[in-house]
């Protein structure tokens, strides 16, 4: 079953604007991860936020986590055409087991030049 659900499913903005994507999940987590997938390619790990963290930054990326609402957001500031991709949130199994990550269906982000 899906653990993470991204919102919106698709987002189109102008280059230079900020893009915000949201993710909701259902069960307790140890961490939440965001990945990017360019069309027809593998996924690239962007950032991991632990359950005891509320906000994390990496370059133009800002991730927040609200465990009380079971939600996370990914903000990309000053978007560029190269940011066009699908973005997925993912959660590992509770207890840190070897089971694979559970992914949402993703947000398809299009940056208009």
């Amino acid at each position: 079953s899906q653990q993470g659900e991204e919102d919106p499913q698709a987002l189109s903005i102008q280059e230079g604007e900020n893009a915000t994507m949201n993710c909701s999940y259902k069960t307790s987590i140890n961490n939440l991860q965001w990945y990017r997938q360019n069309s027809g390619r593998g996924l690239v790990h962007l950032i991991l936020i632990r359950s005891n963290e509320r906000e994390k930054h990496s370059g133009r990326l800002r991730v927040t986590l609200d465990t009380s609402k079971k939600s996370s957001s990914l903000l990309i500031t000053a978007s560029r055409a190269a940011d066009t991709a699908s973005y997925f949130c993912a959660t590992p199994p509770a207890g840190g087991g070897a089971d694979g990550l559970t992914f949402g269906k993703g947000t398809h982000l299009i940056i208009q030049p």
Binding site: Q33, H45, L48, P92, G97, G100
Partner: protein, 112 residues
């Protein structure tokens, strides 16, 4: 540095034919290995994972199987492909503990 190789990049196979997709990891020992499938415009579905040689866990019943003959080699197979096996197959590895995963570049499989 660690790298992951997955091949082929694209594959077109007739219904009923066998399948073998290979994934190898370099630069790490005893990785956790994973096979995912992604249908068009959808999220990723975990198919198999392995924590060691010969140890395979299946997440969903299907027409596919996986094997791990060596520590850093993970193979996805089928004896007879179905149309519904079409999709984008991704291999990934992790050090475990629920930390970040590294994905291969994927194989686009089209069953005709």
């Amino acid at each position: 540095s660690q790298t992951i190789h997955q091949w082929p990049a694209t594959l077109v196979q007739p219904v009923g034919s066998p399948l073998s997709l290979e994934c190898t990891v370099e630069g790490t020992s005893n990785p956790n290995l994973y096979w995912y499938r992604q249908a068009a415009g959808r999220g990723l579905q975990l198919l198999f994972y392995s924590v060691g040689i010969g140890q395979i866990s299946s997440e969903v019943p299907q027409n596919l199987s996986a094997s791990r003959p060596q520590d850093r080699q993970f193979i996805l197979s089928s004896k007879k492909l179905l149309l519904s096996d079409s999709g984008f197959y991704l291999c990934a590895w992790s050090v475990g503990g629920g930390l970040g995963y590294t994905f291969g570049s994927g194989t686009r499989l089209t069953v005709v």
